[in-house]
Amino acid sequence: MNLSRKRYRGMWPFVIFCGLAVLLYISLGKNPEHIPSPLIGKPAPEFTLPDLENRDLLSKQDMQGNVWLLNVWASWCVACIQEHPLLNDLSNSGVVQIVGLNYKDVQTDAIEWLDRHGNPYRFIAVDTTGDVGIDYGVYGVPETFLIDKNGYIQYKHIGQLTPEIISQQILPLVDLLREQES
């Protein structure tokens, strides 16, 4: 008994090393940019913002009863160009409506950018000051929120969308939320 205990005592540093290695290996696969949002499961913050043509005031209520995506974008955002074709496809497929939140942008730049890259948005709310962005906890454009019929945030993606995220995360959730009573 005593002898075997002594033999295994030398193993402790090795055990600790293995524990740390496993811990670090698990964390390696995680994206440090991905910080869970406290907004998930909560009502999407209210906003009243002008549209891109300055003709109308838009609010969250305009989308009441729909399952919709809120995509935060800007013409100065490089990753937005990358994900934009995906949004165009999604919009063309008619599966889900997309609302744009034009974040801290210049109006003319934004219009020109949409002319060049296409406009997948049902409407675009313009947040020049970034105040609505703060309410939505936006810190890395692009960000995309999935909002249900009752105006609750059900999913949030920070950074560029990918085909995998759309097909594996967003679309299944959209199907699920469609069936929900409003």
Partner: protein, 167 residues
């Protein structure tokens, strides 16, 4: 002559000045001065908040240190909220409701952060136990091994040394 010495030493001079500048206390960016707060109490709350709140896009800077646009916006928001009469706790809640506890440099103690706060203490206690255990063991060995003969031998040696050094 003097010139050549100067040129030879240029890399050193450069290095020293870079180091000198790097240790200067850095008190944030003052590019967009916000109006002073009405009361000292509010100013204090604000100063504390911008030191405690993290700039989310820069990871290792607080709002005071960062010149990122988001940090400037959050400073502005913090200022606004303090002017409105919100206290420290209310502003912290406002920020964590939107950005999560990550926005705080010192995350609050709750179930999800328990390991974060607990593990260092646990490690400390563990190491302390091991050290105490070792010390005890070592003193035990001494007690066992130092018999009367050993003591006598040690005394003799000390005596001898004393004699040698005095002669």
């Amino acid at each position: 002559m003097i010139q050549s010495i100067l040129i030879n030493r240029l890399p050193k001079i450069f290095l020293v000045s870079v180091l000198a500048v790097s240790i200067l206390p850095f008190d944030g960016f003052a590019d967009e001065p916000l109006p002073e707060l009405p009361t000292i109490e509010q100013q204090r709350t604000y100063d504390r908040l911008i030191r405690e709140l993290r700039c989310l896009v820069c990871k290792n800077q607080n709002l005071l240190d960062s010149n990122a646009e988001l940090a400037a916006d959050l400073r502005k928001k913090t200022h606004e909220l303090v002017v409105e009469g919100k206290n420290y706790q209310e502003v912290v809640e406002y920020m964590t409701d939107r950005f999560g506890t990550f926005v705080m440099y010192r995350p609050p103690l709750k179930t999800s952060t328990f390991a974060l706060w607990g593990l260092p203490f646990l490690g400390f206690v563990l190491i302390l136990t091991v050290i105490i255990h070792r010390i005890r063991k070592r003193s035990q060995i001494h007690l066992l091994e130092l018999g009367d003969n050993d003591r006598q031998a040690a005394d003799d040696l000390l005596e001898k040394r004393k004699r040698d050094s005095s002669s």
